[in-house]
Subunit: 410 residues, 2 copies
């Protein structure tokens, strides 16, 4: 089964938002074995929409359209589908009744304009509205056409409740992915170690994606059921982990912060972070997951040099020489923040995010430190890219150093 | 002049990344008056790439392709452009020499595979590499075809240095945008106040984009030169600011943090942040700009309740009753962090990001506080949406409260 995704809306073409709906749909379709060959974004324009939808229907089994289902005059996805497949729109009394109730429950009168949202192509099956917009799916020749609202939250609800079950029942096989997080190695060195596996891939497929200081190796297998797919992945994953050695982060966490969090929870331990160039990013990474309160004590962002002394207790002399961007200061920051918050693990970042060098240290200089129950380690890393990139690499490197120290203490 | 954007890469179709390159390009093209009608994403497949590129060339003045310029065998954008327009690839000795030097400067030998990156369609003009991949542009019939690397940082550099000047020189007119940041009002209330201006827009156009607790009203004018475009915007901006009153953030900063930073620098003042639910996001927002060292002292992320007392000096009794998510604790956090870092302005956030309620406070409860040279104000805000949304609203609200207090003290 193959699919393509069409995003409708001028805000996409003006660059006001990224097409995250296409990303979410694609990621979800990949998990059930549906291949996506094209994404398209097009504005609220009837001619261009019918052209794009019509072409998609000639080359794909499934066409998913997001956006353009609102009540305003520029929301014309219903009309475009009607025109493309020459199917009239029919006002659906059942949907109109539900919509009126939706407004009444909120103590508001329904604007007449909203009734447009209850016009569906004849023969379409409605997907229950999560807000005011109903979605729908329609068999058009050999193509299944699915229309979903552009509001991400509404789109995701319909995807989970209706679209995935519908497509799963058609595809007859399942696709399962597992990821190996690779820290401290870089994409080209990761590739060197597993290039032959990548070249020989079939089922599972092997792909990687590089982030700041982190690479994800994703293995995706198709099979008749989940157990069979996992059985295909297991030997490949074991081989990849063996070759990447300590750079392959153990466990199943989606992020390095989650992996570290799991390690800490298993040891009833807590973490605190001392940040300089990362300015709070390390703390926010550690608090992204909802259970963060179980292991995260807090963070001190000591951006000003003076604060490294007054808040974290770094020796004043060391802040003069060798200066705040140094191995010894990173180490004392990690120790100081563990003390300040009474945490088992202290992490620290200091460095030069750029664009200008600082204290004769070049842009990209990063020191990260971890202090775990009295023992402290520091790493010197060369970051690259712009300010965001250097800061991201510092966050990843600090999390990875903490992960290695906690993991070693089993 | 109209353009379309083609993103190449299987990682887009698998949903591993969002097509942020298309977003950045579109936003940049909008500022110089180039209309974008289509975005397409396609995998690393020669047939599908030539199909997509060929169609784009028939309907658009400018086709910008991102991705597929790397050294590995699946990077085939060069080959696809060659095939689409029937122009042979030529190995460019000048680029090969530069690439060899690039590796030598880093003390590494250049892998032979990288030489593929110096193959350009005959007649193409090279765009200097920012990493190992050169970009290029090529006149193909009436269409200008531009190929850029997929690495966002490299893409943006080439966009700024080469692509925008090139397109600006062709379009013959300039487009200038100015934005009014609107804080504490919300999109629908913003719209209510200026709906008639939006309905009557022509030149400048008026658009808005909602962020977490913040709306940007963007006015875009086209004219023969910059001064003429600014003269078209000026009266519209003045009218919009008058109607939005104190919700229209004065000045030109691109972010609320920048606006606050400018106000602080003008007063030789500094800011420190105390964060609970935002976990470091407020600090990282304040340090996004490169000159942040001039006004940002630091932040204390007191995620654990205990740390609010031990680090920030919040009264232990208040942490029991009314509890950490309360007006009085927010105020003491702001005062405590200003004291801790010796800053003129202390900002604080506390609240419930979700997904579960906390201490009988519902998800979305937010208190922000600002303490400016001894005077403290607290606001209670109802956040909405998911965890990211609630955290984002808390950051914006804290920055806005600080901005209002500093601004009032002139």
């Amino acid at each position: 089964l193959n699919a393509e995704i069409i995003g409708v809306g001028t805000e996409l073409l003006l660059g006001q938002i990224a097409n995250t709906n296409a990303q979410r749909l694609s990621a979800a379709l990949a998990t059930i074995g549906v291949d996506v060959y094209y994404h398209t974004a097009v504005g609220d324009n009837l001619n261009r929409m019918t052209e794009v939808i019509g072409r998609a229907a000639t080359r794909s089994d499934v066409v998913i359209i997001t956006g353009g289902l609102g009540p305003t005059p520029d929301d014309i996805t219903r009309e475009a589908i009607s025109a493309t497949f020459d199917v009239p729109l029919v006002r659906r009394a059942d949907l109109a009744g539900e919509l009126r109730e939706f407004f009444e429950r909120r103590g508001r009168r329904m604007p007449e304009a909203n009734l447009r949202q209850t016009d569906l192509p004849r023969g379409a099956v409605a997907i229950p509205a999560e807000g005011t917009a109903s979605g729908f799916h329609l068999e058009a020749g050999n193509t299944l056409v699915i229309a979903l609202p552009g509001v991400p939250w509404e789109m995701v609800q319909m995807l989970q409740k209706v679209v995935l079950p519908l497509l799963r029942s058609r595809s007859g096989e399942v696709t399962i992915s597992r990821e190996v997080l690779v820290a401290g190695l870089g994409e080209s060195h990761t590739h060197e170690r597993i290039a032959d596996l990548v070249a020989a891939q079939s089922n599972p497929t092997i792909a990687y994606l590089a982030g700041y200081g982190l690479v994800r190796v994703r293995m995706t297998a198709k099979a008749s059921d989940e157990a069979a797919a996992l059985a295909l992945i297991a030997p490949v994953e074991a081989e990849i982990r063996a070759r990447l050695d300590r750079h392959a982060v153990p466990g199943e966490g989606a992020t390095l912060a989650q992996v570290l969090g799991n390690l800490l929870v298993a040891r009833s331990a807590t973490v605190a972070a001392a940040e300089s160039l990362t300015g709070g990013l390390l703390g926010s990474a550690l608090t992204e997951a909802e259970g963060a309160g179980d292991y995260f004590a807090g963070a001190a962002v000591t951006y000003a040099t003076r604060a490294k002394g007054s808040v974290l207790g770094v020796d004043a002399g060391l802040l003069e020489d060798p200066g705040p961007v140094s191995e010894v200061v990173a180490g004392q920051m990690a120790e100081g923040v563990a003390r300040l918050f009474g945490a088992d693990l202290g992490l620290a970042t200091t460095g030069v995010a750029g664009p200008a060098e600082q204290d004769a240290r070049p842009v990209g200089t990063i020191f990260v430190a971890a202090s775990w129950r009295g023992a402290t380690e520091v790493r010197h890393i060369r970051g690259y890219g712009d300010r965001d990139s250097v800061r991201g690499i510092a966050v990843t490197s600090a999390l990875d150093l903490g992960r290695l120290m906690v993991q070693a203490d089993s």
